[in-house]
C-alpha cells in the first residue's frame, strides 16, 4: 500500500540515509551488532549489548546462535498453585496426613502454618508413556504430559505475591528492572512490525502490576502491551476516530509523511526523525493488523469449543489462550497470560486466584476448571499447527505452597520448592527434572533458581544470558543478575 519509492523531493544521498534509518532494507541490521565483544564503544556511548543508537529498536536481530524457540507463551497461574496438589505427587505426604511435618519451618509462609502434614485432597493418576503423576485437577492437561518438561525443584527468595512475581519475571525483586519479555525483545527484535512483540493478557491486574511486565530501564519500546480481558482486550487509540474516514486519514498520513520528510532533510543526523516517519506507517498497519489478530470470530466453532469458550467457568482463560495462539502465529515473541478467576465462591481473591490460604480443595478445583481445558487446547492446537516446534509454553505460579496446613484445609506460600512445566520447542517431553523432599516441601535435588530458568530460556532463544546486558546508571545489568546457569539436562 505504501511505497517509499514514491516518496518525493528528497535529494538522493539524504534519501538513502533516510531509508536506512527508517529501518528499511537490511542496512539497519548491521546496526544490530549484538554482542558486547563485537561492539566497539566510544567513551560516551553506553556499552550495551545492543546498540540502539539510531537503529530501529524493534528491528529483527539474529540471535548469536540458532535458538530453537521463537516464541514463548507463559501461562502464569496467578496466586501460586500448590505443587503437591498438581504435578508433584508425594505418597509420603498422602500417608502422613495430620502428622508433624518433619523440618517444617515457620518462616516459610506468609502467615502461620500448623506444622502438620496436609495430604492432597485430589485423586492422583499416572498418565502418558512417561507415566507422569497428575492430580485430577487436570483431566485435559494430563493428556499432554509427554510433551511436558517438569521442573520440580524451582525455588526463589520472596514469599509474597508481588515481590515473588517481580523476582520471577525480572530476576530479582527490585522494582525498576526489565522483565523477561522486555529483555527478549531487546535481544531479538520483533518478528512482526505490525504488532507489539510482548503482549500480556490479564484479568484483574495481578499483584505487582505493570512492574511485572515493565521495560524497567530499557527503552519503553520494550514495554509489554497489556490487554485487559475485562475490556475485551481493547487497545488504546487503535481505532480511528469516527469523525473522519479511512480515506481521509490516509490522505492525512500521506501529507504527514511528505512534510516530515521535507523537515528531515536538513536534519540528517537525527535518526529518530526517520523512525518517527516510519512509525506512522507502522501504526497505520497496526490499526489493521491488531484487530485482525484479536478477532476471535474468524476462528471456527470447533476451535472455540476446543478451547472451552462455550463454558462460562473457563471462558476468559480460553479466550486468552486462543488469543495467545493467534498472536504467536503472527510472530509475537512473548505472550504472558495471568490467569484470573473462573467462577465465584471458591474463597479466593480476584488478583491472586490460586491463593488457597483457606481451602486448597475448593480453591484449586475452581482454578483447575478455569485453566485446564484452555491450556490443554492450546497445546493441542499449537501442535496441530506445527507451532509447537518453535513455541515454548510455560505453566506455573510465582511460588508453591506449604505441605503443612494453614488452618484446617489451606496452604500458605512456599518459595522453597515448586513445580513449573514447559512444553514445546527445545525441551525434553515427559521429562522430570529436580525434586522436592518426600513431602514436596523444599527443593532438594537439582535446585532451579529463577536466574537458572531465565538463563535456560534465553539459551533456547539463542542468547547467551551473560552477554545480554544493558548499561544503566553506571552498571551493566542483565536479566540473570549475577547468577544463572543453563539447565543443559532438560534441553532436547
Amino acid at each position: 500500500m505504501f511505497n517509499y519509492d514514491s516518496a518525493a523531493n528528497i535529494n538522493l544521498p539524504a534519501r538513502r540515509r533516510f531509508l536506512q534509518q527508517a529501518g528499511l532494507g537490511f542496512g539497519s541490521l548491521a546496526l544490530a551488532s549484538m554482542l558486547r565483544e563485537e561492539h566497539t564503544a566510544t567513551a560516551s556511548e553506553p556499552v550495551n549489548a545492543i546498540s540502539l543508537n539510531g537503529a530501529d529498536p524493534l528491528a529483527l536481530r539474529a540471535p548469536k546462535f540458532p535458538g530453537k524457540v521463537k516464541s514463548i507463551i507463559w501461562l502464569f497461574m496467578t496466586g501460586a498453585p500448590s505443587q503437591v496438589d498438581t504435578w508433584d505427587y508425594k505418597p509420603e505426604l498422602q500417608k502422613r496426613d495430620g502428622e508433624t511435618l518433619a523440618g517444617s519451618d515457620p518462616k516459610t509462609g506468609f502467615f502461620t502454618t500448623s506444622g502438620k502434614c496436609l495430604k492432597s485432597p485430589f485423586a492422583w493418576g499416572q498418565y502418558g508413556e512417561s507415566g507422569s503423576w497428575v492430580s485430577d485437577l487436570f483431566p485435559h492437561l494430563s493428556q499432554h504430559v509427554d510433551k511436558m518438561c517438569f521442573l520440580h525443584s524451582m525455588y526463589l527468595k520472596q514469599n509474597n505475591h508481588a515481590p515473588a512475581s517481580l523476582e520471577l519475571m525480572c530476576g530479582t525483586n527490585r522494582p525498576g528492572l526489565p522483565a523477561l519479555g522486555a529483555w527478549m525483545t531487546y535481544g531479538l527484535g520483533s518478528q512482526n512490525q505490525n504488532l507489539p512483540s510482548y503482549v500480556v493478557l490479564h484479568d484483574t491486574r495481578p499483584r505487582g502490576d505493570d512492574q511485572i511486565w515493565s521495560a524497567g530501564f530499557l527503552p519503553k519500546t520494550y514495554q509489554a502491551l497489556a490487554l485487559d480481558s475485562r475490556r475485551k482486550e481493547s487497545i488504546d487509540n487503535l481505532t480511528r476516530d469516527a469523525k473522519h474516514s479511512n480515506q481521509q486519514q490516509r490522505t492525512q498520513l500521506d501529507l504527514i509523511r511528505e512534510l516530515n520528510q521535507r523537515h528531515a532533510i536538513d536534519r540528517a543526523t537525527q535518526a529518530d526523525l526517520a523512525a518517527r516517519i516510519n512509525s506512522f506507517e507502522l501504526a497505520y498497519r497496526m490499526q489493521m493488523a491488531a484487530p485482525e489478530a484479536l478477532d476471535l470470530a474468524s476462528e471456527t466453532d470447533a476451535v472455540h469449543k476446543l478451547y472451552g469458550m462455550d463454558r462460562p467457568e473457563c471462558e476468559t482463560f480460553s479466550r486468552q489462550c486462543l488469543l495467545a495462539r493467534r498472536l504467536v502465529e503472527r510472530g509475537v515473541r512473548f505472550v504472558q497470560i495471568f490467569a484470573g478467576k473462573g467462577v465465584d465462591g471458591d474463597g479466593s481473591v480476584n488478583d491472586v486466584p490460586w491463593d488457597c490460604h483457606s481451602d486448597v480443595q475448593v480453591n484449586h478445583r475452581s482454578c483447575g476448571l478455569h485453566t485446564d481445558q484452555p491450556a490443554a487446547a492450546l497445546l493441542a492446537d499449537l501442535e496441530a499447527r506445527g507451532l509447537l516446534d518453535s513455541t515454548l509454553v510455560i505453566w506455573g505460579g510465582e511460588f508453591g505452597r506449604t505441605s503443612d496446613s494453614q488452618g484446617a484445609k489451606g496452604r500458605d506460600h512456599n518459595p522453597n520448592g515448586f513445580t513449573i512445566w514447559m512444553a514445546g520447542a527445545g525441551v525434553k517431553g515427559g521429562f522430570h527434572y529436580g525434586a522436592t523432599d518426600p513431602f514436596g516441601y523444599k527443593a532438594v535435588e537439582n535446585k532451579v533458581h529463577v536466574n537458572d530458568l531465565h538463563a535456560t530460556l534465553l539459551h533456547l532463544l539463542g542468547i547467551e544470558h551473560t552477554q545480554l546486558t544493558y548499561k544503566f546508571n553506571g552498571r551493566d545489568f542483565r536479566l540473570t543478575d549475577v547468577g544463572g546457569e543453563v539447565l543443559k539436562d532438560i534441553l532436547a
Binding site: A43, P175, G176, D209, Q211, P219, A264, A283
Partner: protein, 1021 residues
C-alpha cells in the same frame, strides 16, 4: 574516637582472618597425633561428603563454588570465604562454621542438617585448634584493592580547578571555540529568530511562544531583545514547573508506594510543589540540596522543611511487610535513598557498594554504610502540618481580641440589667420550676482536649467538633505543642450545690459519628483508660485544698466482662473500659464518690479528666446527683440550672454579691432570653476559635533503627553498628569531617553540610553535577554524557575546563541557578542554528563539540502541554494535589502512581519512577503514532485549534493556515506550504462533501490534526 571505632569494627574482618591463618598454622604444627587422627576419622569424611561439592578447588572448576570458600585444604579453612572467617580456632562458639551447621542464620549443608553427633564433632575439632593436615592452597582471585589516594586523583573527586578564561565575550563560547578549533571544526551559524525563540520558550518554560510573543520578539531589533526574553522567561512561574520535572526524574518522584498495593501517598505532592517553588524563587542550589536531605531538622515543623525531605522518602516501599521481611526491606529502603542521593546529587553509583567494595569507583563497602548510617532514624510517613502557622496564630489572636467586646457586653449586662431581671424572675418563676430529678446534667464551663475540638450543646451535651491529627504541631492558647496519638478530654464544671454523691457519664451514638459511635474510632468504639475527678473551690482566694475524688464504678450499660468499667477507675491507665462489641448503642456509666463531696464555699469546680486510648467519645454528657444509691435509678434527667440558682439563693439570699453576677448569668440564661443572648454570644464565640488547615505531607518521620555494616549486604551477616561518616575519597584532610566538625549535629544535617561544603566536603562534585544537568537540558547532551555517573564507568567530560568554569560560576553566583541558565542561553553555542555543516559532520558526526544545535523531541509532559497550548485550553493553575489526564493543567501536576503510569506519559518515555534518572530514553514506536492519530486528546486539540484559527466563518482560509502555523510551529508557512495546505484542505472538503455547511471547519480540523502529528510540532531546533 568515633572514627577509630568504626574503622576498627569494619576492618576486624580481614584482620581476624589473617590472625587465624597465622594461628592455625602454628597450632597445627603443635597439634598432636590424636588431633590429626580425630580429623581424619570424624571430620574429613564429613567435609568430603557434604561440603566439597560446593567448597573446593574442584567445585571451582565445575563452576559450583559457593561463597568463595574452600574447605578442601587447611589454608582454605583458615582463609574463610566471602562471609569472612569460618573458623575461629579454639573457639567453636564464635565460629561461623558452627552457626551454619546448626542452621543458625546460615544453613549448611543445604541438603539437610547433619546429625547432632557430627555437629558436636566439628565443635570439638575447632576447640582442639582445628588440626588439619591437608595441604593445598586457595586459588587467589585477584581482588581489586581500593586505593583511596589514587582514587582522589580521579578528576571528579578533585577540588575545583582554577581555569584560565579564554578571551571571548562569553567564556562559554571561548571554551567551545578552542575545542572546535583543535578538531578543525568550523563554528555554527546563528539560528533564526523564530527558531531561537521557540527553543528558548520550550527550554525554559516548556511551552511554545504565542504568535503575539513571537511577533513582538521578531519586531524587537534591540541587541538585548533575546536577553530580555530570557529574563522574562526565568521570572515566569512556568519556569519552575518546567525545570522541576527534570529534577523530579532525578529524584525518582512518585506519589505511591509501588509493589503490590501501590498505596497512594496523598501528601506526596508537596515535594513536587516545593521543588517548583524553590526553583522559581531561585533558591541557592546548596540550600536546595540541604533542605532535601535535612529540611525536617533545619526547619522543623514547617511545611517547607517536611515537603523538601519528601525527596528522601519518594521511593517505592512494599505495602505488605512481615516480621520476616521487615529488616531486609528497611535496608532496601536505605539503599533507595543512597542510590538516589548518589545518582541525583553526586553523580555516583553508591548502590554498587551495598554488597561489596565498589567495583570501579574508590568507594569502599564501609563508606556506603557510613553514609547510610545518617539515615538511621529516618522513616517515612505522612505528617499533618499547618502550611501557614503564622496566619493561623494571627487569626487566633484576632479571634481572641474579638471576644473582648462580647465579654464587655456580658459584664455590662450583668452589672446593670441582670440583677433586676433575675429578681423579677425568681420571685415569679423560680418556684414554678420543677424540683431537680436525681440526675442533673452538668453544663461545662471549659472544654479542653488533646486532639479534639469540643463544643457545648443544649442540655449539657458535649459535642465533638473536629479533630487534630496526631503528630501535628499546633499552637493553642499561645503555646506550641505536638499533638499526641491518644486523646485526653479535660472538662470543667461548676456547681454551688452541696453533698454531691455520684457522677454519671453518658456516651451517645449519633449518625454523624464513625459507625454511629459512640466512640470516634473508625469502628465506633472507644477505650477509656482512666477517669479522674478533681474538686476545688471556684473562688481562687479560698484556702481550701483541692481534692481528688475517689470513684467507685457502679454500673455500665454495656461492658465486656474482660474489659469492664472498673478498668477506667483503677488508677491504671494501661487498663481500659473498652466498648467495642456493644458500640453503636447509647452507653452510660455510673460512679459513686467514695465520700460525698460536701462542696466548697463560693462554689465547687469539678475537673473531669478522661484519658482514652486512641480517640475519644463523639457526644457525651455528665450528670451528678446529691442523692445516695444511684444504681437503682431510672435515667430521668434535668439540667442543673434551676438547682444551681436555688443553691445560690440559699447561700446568699436575695442580696446577690457583685462577684456572683457574671457566674449567675450561666445558670439564668436558659430562663431569660436577654441573658441568653449576651451569655451565649461569649460561649459560641469561644467555640468558633479558628483552626489550622492542616495538610498531610508525605515526608520523613522519626523511626528506623541503627544501621549495621552488612557483609555482602545480607541482613543476617552484620558486622557491627555503622557510625555516620562520609566518603573517604572526598576527605580533604586526613580525617572524617563528620566527626571533626560537629559530632553532636543531627547526622543528616551533617551530611547536608558535607554535601555542600566546597572545601571539605562534596561541594565541588555537587556543583559539577548540577551545572552538567543544566547544560544537558539546554544543549541536549551533558558535558559529561552520563549525568548520573561521574565515576570511572561514566563518561569523561568532553570540555573539562568549561565544566569547571560553569561550576565556579555557580559558586560565584552564590549557587543560584538562574544566572547560569542566563549565561548558557546568552552564549553563541546555545543560539546557533541546527543546520549541518557537511565538513564538520565528517569530523564529528556525533556533534560532541556542539558545532550545531541538536534538534530534539519534546518530553512526554511537554508534548501534552504543547497540545494544550495549541488548543488554547491549557489551565495555568499552579500547585496542589495531583490531577488525572482529563485535566487541562500542566503535565507536571499529573498523578504519578507507580503501577498506573498515565498512558500518554508512558508512551512518550516518561520514566519509571523507581530509580534516579538523569537522561530519559527517547523511543519512537507505533503506539506514539497511534496516540497522535487516534487519541481523543489529540483530536480534541485539533478541533480547539480549528476554532482558534477560524474565529469567524468568513475568515479567509489563507489567514487560518498562517495562524495555525504560527501557533503550532512559531513561524509562518512558506508559499509552497500555503499552497499545499490549501490543496489538502480542499481535498478534505471534497471528501466531506462541499455542500455540507461544516465542510470547511471539518477540513480545517483534518489540517490541524496533521500539524499536531508533524515532527516539527514535537521537535525543537
Amino acid at each position: 574516637m568515633k572514627t577509630l571505632k568504626r574503622i576498627t569494627a569494619l576492618q576486624a574482618l580481614p584482620i581476624a582472618a589473617l590472625a587465624i591463618a597465622l594461628m592455625s598454622r602454628s597450632e597445627c604444627s603443635a597439634a598432636d597425633e590424636s588431633g590429626i587422627s580425630f580429623f581424619e576419622q570424624k571430620i574429613r569424611p564429613m567435609l568430603v561428603e557434604h561440603c566439597y561439592a560446593c567448597h573446593s578447588v574442584e567445585a571451582l572448576e565445575n563452576k559450583k563454588l559457593q561463597g568463595a570458600l574452600y574447605l578442601d585444604s587447611a589454608a582454605g579453612v583458615a582463609a574463610g570465604g566471602e562471609s569472612g572467617a569460618v573458623v575461629v580456632t579454639g573457639k567453636s562458639a564464635d565460629s561461623l562454621l558452627m552457626k551454619a551447621l546448626r542452621y543458625d542464620g546460615l544453613e549448611m549443608p543445604p541438603s539437610g542438617k547433619l546429625s547432632d553427633e557430627v555437629i558436636a564433632d566439628f565443635a570439638k575439632w575447632i576447640d582442639l585448634g582445628a588440626p588439619d593436615p591437608r595441604e593445598g592452597s586457595v586459588p587467589v582471585k585477584p581482588k581489586r584493592e581500593i586505593n583511596l589516594d589514587e582514587g582522589r586523583r580521579w578528576w571528579a573527586f578533585q577540588p575545583l580547578q582554577a581555569v584560565k578564561l579564554p578571551i571571548a565575550a562569553n567564556p562559554i563560547d571561548g571554551f567551545i571555540s578552542i575545542a572546535q578549533q583543535s578538531q578543525g571544526l568550523k563554528p555554527g551559524v546563528p539560528a533564526g529568530k523564530e527558531a531561537l525563540l521557540r527553543r528558548a520558550y520550550f527550554d525554559l518554560i516548556g511551552l511554545p511562544p504565542t504568535p503575539e510573543q513571537m511577533a513582538a520578539y521578531v519586531a524587537d531589533a534591540s541587541p538585548r531583545a533575546f536577553e530580555k526574553v530570557v529574563d522574562e522567561l526565568l521570572a515566569s512561574p512556568a519556569y519552575g514547573e518546567r525545570w522541576a520535572r527534570h529534577w523530579l526524574d532525578a529524584a525518582r518522584f512518585a506519589e505511591s508506594g509501588g509493589y503490590e498495593f501501590d498505596r497512594f501517598r496523598p501528601g506526596a505532592y508537596h515535594y513536587r510543589d516545593w521543588v517548583i517553588s524553590a526553583l522559581n524563587s531561585d533558591m541557592a542550589y546548596d540550600q536546595f540540596v540541604q533542605m532535601q536531605l535535612a529540611g525536617d531538622v533545619i526547619s522543623p515543623d514547617s511545611i517547607e522543611g517536611a515537603a523538601a525531605t519528601g525527596f528522601l522518602v519518594a521511593g517505592p516501599y512494599p505495602g505488605q511487610i512481615t516480621v520476616k521481611t521487615v529488616e531486609r526491606i528497611r535496608y532496601d529502603q536505605l539503599d533507595d535513598m543512597m542510590m538516589t542521593i548518589g545518582g541525583s546529587m553526586l553523580g555516583l553509583t553508591l548502590g554498587c557498594a551495598r554488597c561489596h567494595e565498589h567495583k570501579y569507583d574508590p568507594i569502599p563497602h564501609q563508606d556506603y554504610y557510613a553514609l547510610a548510617a545518617a539515615m538511621a532514624t529516618t522513616a517515612h510517613g505522612p505528617r499533618p502540618l499547618d502550611p501557614d502557622p503564622a496566619a493561623t496564630a494571627l487569626a487566633q489572636e484576632k479571634h481572641n481580641a474579638d471576644q473582648q467586646p462580647l465579654l464587655d457586653a456580658l459584664n455590662a449586662f450583668a452589672a446593670t440589667e441582670l440583677p433586676t431581671r433575675f429578681t423579677t424572675w425568681q420571685e415569679k418563676e423560680l418556684s414554678k420550676q420543677p424540683a431537680a430529678t436525681r440526675w442533673q446534667t452538668m453544663e461545662p464551663v471549659d472544654l479542653e482536649a488533646e486532639r479534639s475540638y469540643l463544643k457545648e450543646s443544649a442540655g449539657g451535651l458535649i459535642v465533638h467538633d473536629g479533630m487534630l491529627a496526631a503528630g501535628s504541631v499546633v499552637r493553642q492558647r499561645g503555646q506550641s505543642r505536638k499533638v499526641r496519638a491518644d486523646e485526653v478530654y479535660r472538662l470543667t464544671f461548676h456547681t454551688h450545690q452541696k453533698n454531691l454523691q455520684s457522677l454519671r457519664l453518658d456516651a451517645f451514638t449519633d449518625g454523624s459519628l464513625p459507625a454511629r459511635g459512640p466512640g470516634l474510632n473508625s469502628d465506633g468504639s472507644f477505650q477509656l483508660g482512666e477517669i479522674t475527678v478533681t474538686a476545688r473551690p471556684i473562688n481562687l482566694q479560698s484556702k481550701d485544698v483541692p481534692k481528688n475524688l475517689k470513684l467507685k464504678p457502679l454500673f455500665a450499660a454495656f461492658e465486656d466482662k474482660d474489659q469492664p468499667l472498673s478498668n477506667a477507675a483503677d488508677g491504671r491507665p494501661e487498663t481500659a473500659w473498652i466498648v467495642k462489641t456493644t458500640a453503636k448503642k447509647d452507653n452510660a456509666a455510673i460512679f459513686e464518690f467514695e465520700e460525698p463531696l460536701a462542696g466548697f464555699d463560693g462554689g465547687t469546680e469539678l475537673v473531669v479528666e478522661l484519658t482514652f486510648r486512641e480517640l475519644g467519645m463523639g457526644r457525651l454528657r455528665f450528670a451528678f446527683s446529691v442523692d445516695p444509691n444511684p444504681a437503682t435509678w431510672a435515667g430521668e434527667v434535668t439540667t442543673q440550672h434551676a438547682s444551681e440558682l436555688r443553691a445560690i439563693m440559699a447561700t446568699h439570699g436575695k442580696e446577690l454579691p457583685d462577684s456572683m453576677r457574671v457566674p449567675l448569668a450561666r445558670w439564668f440564661a436558659p430562663f431569660d432570653p436577654e441573658t441568653a443572648k449576651v451569655f451565649y454570644a461569649v460561649r459560641d464565640h469561644r467555640a468558633a476559635v479558628p483552626r489550622p488547615h492542616l495538610q498531610e505531607v508525605y515526608t520523613t518521620v522519626s523511626g528506623g533503627q541503627d544501621v549495621f555494616f552488612l557483609r555482602r549486604g545480607e541482613v543476617d551477616n552484620k558486622a557491627g553498628k555503622a557510625e555516620p561518616g562520609f566518603l573517604q575519597v572526598m576527605w580533604r584532610k586526613n580525617e572524617d569531617p563528620a566527626v571533626a566538625d560537629s559530632p553532636a549535629a543531627h547526622p543528616r544535617v551533617a551530611l547536608a553540610k558535607w554535601m555542600t561544603d566546597v572545601n571539605n566536603g562534596a561541594g565541588a562534585l555537587l556543583a559539577r553535577v548540577i551545572v552538567n544537568r543544566l547544560w544537558q537540558h539546554h544543549l541536549g547532551q551533558g558535558i559529561v554524557g552520563t549525568p548520573n555517573d561521574f565515576g570511572v564507568q561514566g563518561d569523561r567530560p568532553t570540555h573539562p575546563e568549561l565544566l569547571e568554569h560553569l561550576a565556579q560560576e555557580l559558586l560565584r553566583q552564590g549557587w543560584k541557578l538562574k544566572p547560569l541558565h542566563r549565561a548558557i542561553m546568552l552564549s553563541d553555542v546555545y543560539q546557533q542554528s541546527h543546520v549541518i555543516n557537511p565538513d564538520n559532520l565528517k569530523i564529528d558526526s556525533a556533534n560532541r563539540y556542539w558545532w550545531h544545535f541538536p534538534p530534539r523531541r519534546l518530553e512526554a509532559e511537554t508534548i501534552r502541554d504543547a497540545l494544550l497550548a495549541a488548543g488554547g485550553n491549557g489551565d495555568s493553575l499552579m500547585y496542589g494535589a495531583s490531577v488525572l489526564e482529563d485535566s487541562q493543567r500542566r503535565s507536571v501536576y499529573l498523578r504519578v502512581k507507580r503501577s498506573e503510569l498515565l498512558p500518554i506519559m508512558a508512551i512518550f518515555d516518561a520514566p519509571e519512577p523507581t530509580q534516579s534518572i538523569g537522561k530519559r530514553s527517547v523511543t519512537t514506536v507505533p503506539t506514539q503514532a497511534l496516540a497522535m492519530m487516534n487519541s481523543p486528546l489529540v483530536r480534541q486539540q485539533a478541533e480547539k485549534l480549528t476554532a482558534r484559527i477560524r474565529p469567524t466563518a468568513d475568515q479567509p482560509l489563507s489567514t487560518s493556515i498562517v495562524l495555525a502555523y504560527q501557533i503550532a510551529f512559531g513561524r509562518s508557512p512558506s508559499e509552497a506550504e500555503q499552497l499545499q495546505m490549501t490543496a489538502f484542505i480542499e481535498k478534505q472538503r471534497e471528501a466531506i462533501g462541499r455542500d455540507s455547511p461544516e465542510s470547511t471547519e471539518k477540513a480545517l480540523t483534518e489540517f490541524c490534526h496533521v500539524l499536531l502529528c508533524l515532527n516539527e510540532f514535537v521537535y525543537i531546533d
